[in-house]
C-alpha cells in the first residue's frame, strides 16, 4: 500500500459527515418540504445572479439541509444575500423552492438567536416589517431615516450622501413628509401578536 503523504494545510479532508434527517424534518415542519427532491444538478447555482457575493452556492445550501449540517448553514451569508429573484426555482427540474427554503432558514436562525452574518440586511427587513405592522403601509422616508440612524449614524458620510440624494428626490416631488396607513387598523394588532416569537 502506498505510504500516506502528509497533507498540506488547507488541503485537509474533512472528517466524515454523519448525515441526519433533522433539518429536512424541521424545514418540512415549517412548510417547506421540497429540499429532499434535489439531485444536485446545480442549475440553481449556474443561473443565480448573486453567487459572486455568496459563501455557499445555492445547491450547497440544499445539500446541507439534506445532510442536516446546521452548524455550517446557520452562519452563512447566502441565505441573506439571496434576493428571491426566483431564477433557481423556475429552472429547477425538481421544483425545489430555494427562495422559500432560504426564508425558512433565516427564520430558524432568528428563532435560535444565532448571530446573523448580514446584520444590515436583517435590520432593513426588521424596520420595514415594523412599519408595515404599525400602520399597514410603508413610509419610505421614515424607514430610510431610522435605518441610517441605526447603522452609520446621522453624521456619517453615508448619511450625508443619502441626504444629498434625499434632497434631489425632494426637489423632484418624490418625498412624502407624512406617513399614511390603512384606515382600519384592528387587524394589525392581531398580526403583531401572531408574529411574536418569530412567526413561522
Amino acid at each position: 500500500m502506498e505510504a500516506m503523504t502528509p497533507v498540506k494545510e488547507g488541503d485537509v479532508t474533512s472528517p466524515p459527515i454523519r448525515p441526519s434527517p433533522d433539518l429536512l424534518e424541521r424545514t418540512r415542519a415549517m412548510g417547506e418540504a421540497s429540499a429532499a427532491a434535489c439531485y444536485g444538478c446545480k442549475k440553481c447555482s449556474n443561473g443565480c445572479p448573486l453567487t459572486f457575493a455568496m459563501d455557499l452556492h445555492p445547491y450547497q445550501v440544499v445539500r446541507y439541509v439534506q445532510l442536516g449540517l446546521w452548524q455550517r448553514l446557520k452562519n452563512c451569508r447566502t441565505i441573506w444575500i439571496c434576493a428571491s429573484c426566483h431564477t433557481c426555482l423556475t429552472r429547477c427540474p425538481n421544483q425545489v423552492d430555494l427562495p422559500r427554503l432560504m426564508d425558512v432558514l433565516k427564520q430558524m436562525v432568528l428563532a435560535e438567536g444565532a448571530p446573523v452574518s448580514e446584520e444590515r440586511v436583517l435590520l432593513f427587513h426588521r424596520l420595514f416589517l415594523d412599519e408595515v405592522l404599525k400602520r399597514g403601509k410603508v413610509f419610505e422616508g421614515g424607514l430610510m431615516g431610522r435605518y441610517l440612524f441605526k447603522t452609520d449614524g446621522p453624521f456619517s458620510p453615508a448619511a450625508r450622501k443619502n441626504a444629498v440624494l434625499g434632497w434631489q428626490m425632494f426637489k423632484r416631488g418624490r418625498i412624502k413628509l407624512l406617513p399614511q396607513g390603512t384606515r382600519d387598523r384592528r387587524w394589525l394588532k392581531a398580526l403583531r401578536r401572531a408574529g411574536q416569537g418569530g412567526g413561522s
Binding site: S84, C85, D103, Q107, L129, E131, V132
Partner: protein, 290 residues
C-alpha cells in the same frame, strides 16, 4: 370607459410618484378608469416573506379580500406587489390554516380576484391597437432595451406568465409606437431590488452588468414596468458608471411615460422631470423634445 381595479402599492404614493402619474395618464389615454382597491395595505415585500411567513400571507389575504369587491381585473403596477398577491393566492388555494380569524372572517374567495401586472394588461393586442390608433408621433430615435426584472415573471407556476424567459409585451407596444427596440439577453435578470439600501454594492454590480450589456446592444435608453427596477437603474447611474470606468447615459423610462410621449399627454414633461437621469438630451437628439 372601462373600469378596472387598481392596487398601487406604497412606493407609488411617494418615491415612484412619476410612475403613479404616468400610470394615471396612460389610463386616461386608453379610456380606462382605475378604481383603487379600498383601504389596501402594504404587500409586506421582501421583509415579510423573509422574517414572518404568516404576516406575509395575511397581508396578501387582506388585499385579496378587498380586491374582490371591485371591478376586475385588478391591475398592479409594482412587480413585487403583483408577485406577493399571486403567491398569496397560490398558497391559499392549498389551505387557510395560517390565516388570522380577523382575516378569515372577511369571508373572501381568495382565488376570485384576477390579479394582473399592469404591463401585461396594457400590452394586450387590443391595448396595443388602441395605443397605435391614438399615436400622435413616432418614437423614432429611441432605441430602448426593455427591462422586465424578476417578479412579474417568476416563478411561472405562480405568476402564470406565458413567456417568463423572454417576455415581449412592452417590446411589442414600443415597436407599435415607432421605437427601435433592441433585443438583449438581460431582460429578466435581477437588479438586486431591496438590497439597494443594506448592500448597495450588490445592486451596483448587478446594474453595472445591465448597463454594459444594454450599451453593447446599441440601446440609448432603458424602459421598465417596475418602480424598484427604475429606481435601481436610475438613481445611482453616475456612481455605477464611475465604477465601470466608462461613460453611461441611459435614461430610464417607465413604459407608461413613453405611452404619454407618443400619444401626446400634456403632463409627460412633468413625469420625466422627476427622474434623476434627465432624458432631455436624448429626447432633443431624437427630435422628441417637449
Amino acid at each position: 370607459m372601462r373600469a378596472v381595479g387598481f392596487y398601487p402599492g406604497c412606493s407609488l404614493e411617494a418615491t415612484a410618484r412619476d410612475y403613479m402619474e404616468s400610470v394615471k395618464g396612460a389610463a386616461e389615454l386608453l379610456d380606462l378608469e382605475l378604481v383603487e382597491v379600498p383601504d389596501w395595505n402594504c404587500c409586506g415585500a421582501s421583509a415579510a416573506h423573509s422574517l414572518d411567513h404568516r404576516a406575509s400571507l395575511n397581508l396578501a389575504a387582506r388585499n385579496l379580500a378587498l380586491a374582490q369587491k371591485g371591478p376586475q381585473p385588478v391591475v398592479v403596477p409594482c412587480a413585487l406587489c403583483f408577485n406577493r398577491l399571486k403567491a398569496g393566492q397560490h398558497e391559499l388555494a392549498g389551505g387557510r390554516e395560517l390565516l388570522l380569524p380577523e382575516i378569515k372572517a372577511m369571508g373572501a374567495d381568495f382565488a376570485a380576484p384576477e390579479i394582473v401586472e399592469l404591463n401585461t394588461f396594457l400590452t394586450s393586442p387590443r391595448m396595443i391597437d388602441l395605443a397605435e390608433a391614438g399615436k400622435k408621433r413616432d418614437l423614432t430615435g429611441l432605441r430602448p432595451a426593455v427591462y422586465y426584472g424578476c417578479q412579474g415573471q417568476r416563478p411561472p407556476a405562480v405568476t402564470g406568465h406565458p413567456a417568463h424567459e423572454n417576455p415581449m409585451g412592452i417590446d411589442r407596444l414600443l415597436r407599435a409606437l415607432g421605437a427601435e427596440v433592441v433585443d438583449w439577453p438581460f431582460k429578466t435578470d435581477c437588479c438586486g431590488a431591496s438590497h439597494a439600501i443594506a448592500r448597495p454594492d450588490l445592486v451596483h454590480a448587478l446594474v453595472g452588468r445591465l448597463y454594459e450589456r444594454a450599451l453593447e446592444r446599441g440601446a440609448n435608453c432603458l424602459v421598465t414596468g417596475c418602480q424598484m427596477c427604475q429606481a435601481n437603474l436610475d438613481m445611482y447611474q453616475e456612481e455605477i458608471a464611475a465604477g465601470l470606468q466608462r461613460e453611461v447615459y441611459l435614461p430610464v423610462f417607465y413604459f407608461t411615460e413613453l405611452l404619454g410621449l407618443a400619444l401626446g399627454h400634456q403632463q409627460t414633461n412633468a413625469w420625466l422631470g422627476r427622474h434623476m437621469v434627465s432624458p432631455a438630451r436624448l429626447l432633443e437628439q431624437s427630435g422628441l423634445n417637449l
